[in-house]
């Protein structure tokens, strides 16, 4: 039966710690949201803790100007492409690492890991040249492939952790029952590690969504991500702070939604120590 005694953090001020920390986290975000509802005149002219004349003008600008909103679409396209590619490629590899020993397995695993640690700055220029040679510059697939550099090793790592938790007897039973490998993998194995796939996809999404350096280097106009477009808010009339803030707020929304949906898996994913 469930144990009745839960460990209680010491003292009554423990909630205060979390609260203060969360306020610290939310203040800068609040300030951005606050700004996004203000006119530029109000931003630069007066200092106010909340919008005196709330306006949706900044958001209207973004949603009516294709050069703005296409940035979001571009970002989402390559992030989703990258997540799908990374997870699909990682699934069989993670299975191999979790179930078999083979020539050079340890070295391969280590080498994959180093790519997770590689500084994107090192790769920016060669990527540019490589993708130019293939005529892939300014396409979504270019960014999606480039992000595979760190997301594929990550996905392999996370999935391997989850797969190792599935007893090997399940595989053997399935083979005895006459399942072929692909059928077993899709019908039996993948449902068992569904939460692992979810966690892996979450982290791929996250790291692809937040990355800018490679995404900016590999795109010019057609596939330019929103975060790169944000850098051009300097116009003849000076800095358009309001639109910048609104664009920033909109980049937080997809992340927040994703976290909300996977909130019960985050702790589990972290618990595996596979980030």
């Amino acid at each position: 039966m469930a144990s009745p005694m839960k460990y209680k953090p010491a003292g009554n001020f423990s909630w205060l710690v979390s609260t203060i920390y969360i306020i610290f986290l939310l203040l800068p975000i609040y300030w951005l949201i606050n700004m996004s509802f203000k006119e530029n005149a109000e931003i630069t002219g007066t200092f106010s803790l909340w919008p005196q004349n709330p306006t949706l003008r900044n958001y209207t600008v973004i949603f009516t100007d294709p050069s703005w909103y296409s940035g979001y679409i571009n970002s989402i396209i390559y992030v989703v492409m990258n997540t799908v590619i990374s997870v699909l490629a990682a699934l069989p590899a993670a299975y191999a690492f979790s179930r078999y020993r083979f020539l050079g397995d340890k070295h391969l695993f280590f080498w994959l890991l180093t790519n997770r640690m590689a500084p994107p700055a090192v790769f920016a220029l060669p990527f540019f040249q490589l993708y130019s040679a293939f005529g892939l510059i300014d396409t979504h697939i270019a960014v999606a492939l480039a992000h595979c550099l760190f997301n594929v090793p990550l996905a392999v790592w996370i999935l391997e952790g989850f797969m190792s938790g599935v007893p090997k007897e399940i595989d053997e039973t399935a083979y005895i029952d006459g399942y072929s490998f692909p059928r077993f993998f899709v019908r039996i194995f993948m449902p068992l590690i569904a939460s692992g796939i979810g966690v892996a996809a979450f982290f791929c999404f996250m790291f692809s969504w937040v990355e800018l350096l490679l995404a900016r280097t590999l795109t010019t106009t057609a596939a330019k991500p929103i975060s790169a477009i944000m850098t051009r808010t300097v116009s003849a009339a000076g800095m358009d702070w309001g639109v910048l803030a609104a664009a920033g707020v909109l980049t937080i929304v997809p992340g927040a939604l994703v976290i909300y949906f996977v909130r019960n898996y985050i702790a589990k994913g972290f618990a595996l120590g596979r980030v």
Binding site: M1, S3, P4, M5
Partner: protein, 356 residues
């Protein structure tokens, strides 16, 4: 070491219990002797862990008091109660050596270091881990870890009681026997009051002087293994203890005659049943004799378990189990007789006596 008194203890996890169903523990009012070895036996969810946690002070009962040697400890913390507990999974401090693990409770209580050293060395001898003293506890096997957990309790020579919460769950079967006999030896040597939670009847019966059988939040019987076997106070005890469990057959009583279906069995006493209720007859399979006399049965299956065989049969339309010696001949038209002395009569699941 102490006598433990459970004074009308009731416990509910919910805030405002309305009915009996809301209580994890219904009402427990018992006194356990100093130096006794008690096993709390029952299926999962019967409240035995709740009771253990109330004794250890990890949980405050909703009602009632708990006394050690007559002193009310209901509101005392676990630490102040001076008890020790061995958990289901070995709890050891991984980063410490075996020696430091055993010294930990003493040092926390400010015992002077020479005294700590003396007692820890003594304890290392007792639990047979002297050679491992300087090793990191992390590397040990599960049974060694459980011995350390036990040692951490015993090393404090003032403990009132040692509580065991299914301590052999993670131990290999062959080591279970070894550990159990070591534990019995230690119990004899130290004479501590011991409360041992388990759902394994063999463990409970071989281990304890008194077995406390719990069912659905209440204690249904406290007794020696023999009492539990011969005179189960509740049909649950009959089912739960023994393998196969007691046969319980719906019956009607008229004086000293029991009627089961169309068959009649006479008792050597007249059960004292007053008022209405569900009447049942209980007889252990060991006391049903199969042969050519008595009431006819039809056999459905025979299981051979070595020296004995278990006969599954139908008695007046009710399934019944019979334990017979392996060499007993089973006639083609089998009949059974019940040993009258071994028959128990139950009204609403509780045993009713005549004089017996």
């Amino acid at each position: 070491m102490a006598r433990i008194t459970l004074d009308h203890i009731r416990h509910a996890y919910g805030a405002s219990p309305q009915s009996d169903q809301d209580y994890a523990l219904r009402e427990i009012d018992h006194e356990w002797h100093d130096g006794g070895a008690y096993a709390l036996l029952g299926p999962s969810g019967c409240g035995k862990t709740t009771l253990l946690n109330i004794i250890s002070g990890l949980l405050q009962p909703s009602h009632g008091r708990i006394l050690f040697d007559g002193k009310d400890v209901t509101n005392l913390s676990t630490q102040a109660r001076n008890i020790a507990q061995v958990f289901q999974f070995p709890v050891i401090y991984d980063t410490m050596t075996v020696y430091d693990n055993l010294a930990f409770p003493l040092r926390n209580r400010g015992v002077p270091e020479p005294e700590v050293d003396r007692r820890v060395r003594e304890m290392l001898e007792i639990i047979d881990l002297s050679d491992w003293a300087k090793r990191k506890a992390q590397r040990l096997t599960a049974d060694q870890k459980q011995k350390i957990s036990l040692g951490r309790g015993l090393v404090r020579n003032d403990v009132n009681a040692i509580l065991f919460d299914e301590p052999l769950t993670v131990i290999d079967p062959h080591m279970k026997w070894v550990l159990r006999s070591q534990l019995k030896r230690l119990h004899k040597q130290f004479g501590f009051t011991m409360v041992y939670v388990t759902h394994d009847q063999t463990e409970a019966l071989t281990f304890a002087d008194k077995v406390v059988v719990m069912y659905d939040g209440q204690i249904v019987q406290i007794g020696t293994p023999a009492e539990l076997f011969e005179r189960p106070r509740h049909t649950f005890v009959g089912y739960f203890i023994g393998s196969p469990g007691m046969n319980v057959l719906p019956a009607k009583i008229d004086g000293s005659t029991v009627t089961i279906g169309d068959e009649k069995v006479s008792l050597d006493y007249a059960p004292n049943i007053s008022g209405v209720g569900k009447i049942e007859l209980g007889i252990r399979p060991e006391f049903v004799r199969i042969g050519s006399e008595g009431v006819p049965v039809s056999i459905t299956r025979i299981e051979d378990i070595g020296r004995l065989k278990i006969v599954r049969a139908s008695f007046a339309g009710q399934p019944i189990s019979i334990v017979a010696e392996e060499d007993v001949e089973i006639p083609s038209e089998p009949r059974v007789t019940f040993d009258p002395a071994a028959i128990n009569i139950y009204a609403d699941s509780w045993r009713v006596g005549g004089e017996g």
